[in-house]
């Protein structure tokens, strides 16, 4: 298996799709290819970090202001 072939299946590996065709071949490739192993682990970390950090926080005062504005507009419409 080449790195390009591995990369084509990367999403399935990341999403831990149990039904990946060629799973054994992918795992075999990972065992002997450090680059793909790093790509898989760091891409997985990328997703985890974006999931665990609230980068667009909605502060409570703004939230209340938005609720009031939304409900007022809905009542008017």
């Amino acid at each position: 298996m080449t790195c390009t072939e591995f990369l084509a299946q990367l999403d399935e590996m990341l999403d831990q799709d149990a039904a990946i065709p060629l799973r054994a071949d992918l795992e075999e490739h990972l065992r002997c290819c450090e680059h793909c192993e790093i790509t898989l682990s760091t891409t997985r970390t990328t997703i985890q970090i974006y999931r665990s950090h609230e980068i667009y926080e909605l502060p409570e005062d703004l939230r209340e202001r938005l609720h009031k504005a939304i409900l007022a507009k809905c009542r008017k419409s």
Partner: protein, 187 residues
């Protein structure tokens, strides 16, 4: 109205996040939240029970966000197909391993800043797919339905979005990275 208020409270944070991911501007995102919930309220009778209310609302919010982007660019057409025909991210280049605990390298607000600036560099059509699939947890099918894209198109954009983000974050998180590099801004 009380029932609708409950829906607003249930989904406002998600809509605010998705809008921010697309428009990359807090004031515009606030407007999107208001417009999306108003539009959803006005179209409630058109809501088909065969899709979840949340994915229906997200579709409205995505369209409102793209309209905002277009307004900001003085009428230039903006679509989720923009700039997606790039080869960047199709093959990883920076293959240095990362620090075992990259989150320990930066404080909370500095990390949020790095993540915001990094995702900002992606085309809107990649940002939105990544936000819906990986941040909001929609399935590939829901993301495709919400964005009016085919499943292969969602998969292709998601892979390239993930690889581009990984590549751009490498400079901050690789083993020899110094926190001071965060000052330089994302690539």
């Amino acid at each position: 109205m009380a029932a609708y208020e409950k829906l607003v409270k249930q989904y406002d944070r998600q809509v605010f996040r998705i809008a921010n991911h697309i428009v990359q501007n807090r004031e515009d995102a606030e407007d999107v939240v208001q417009d999306a919930f108003l539009k959803a309220y006005q179209k409630l009778n058109q809501f088909q029970g065969n899709s979840k209310f949340y994915t229906w609302l997200v579709r409205i919010a995505v369209n409102e966000s793209l309209m905002r982007l277009r307004k900001r660019r003085t009428g230039k057409m903006v679509s989720i197909d923009e700039d997606v025909e790039t080869d960047e991210g199709s093959m990883p280049r920076d293959l240095a391993d990362w620090s075992p605990d990259p989150e320990a390298l930066y404080g909370q607000s500095e990390m949020a800043d790095i993540l915001r600036r990094t995702i900002q560099g992606l085309p809107p059509g990649f940002r939105v797919v990544f936000a819906l699939r990986d941040v909001e947890g929609l399935s590939t099918e829901e993301t495709a339905e919400t964005l009016g894209l085919s499943i292969p198109a969602v998969k292709s954009r998601l892979l390239r979005a993930r690889l581009q983000l990984r590549e751009r974050l490498s400079r901050y998180f690789k083993r020899d990275a110094k926190p001071a590099q965060a000052q330089d801004g994302a690539k």
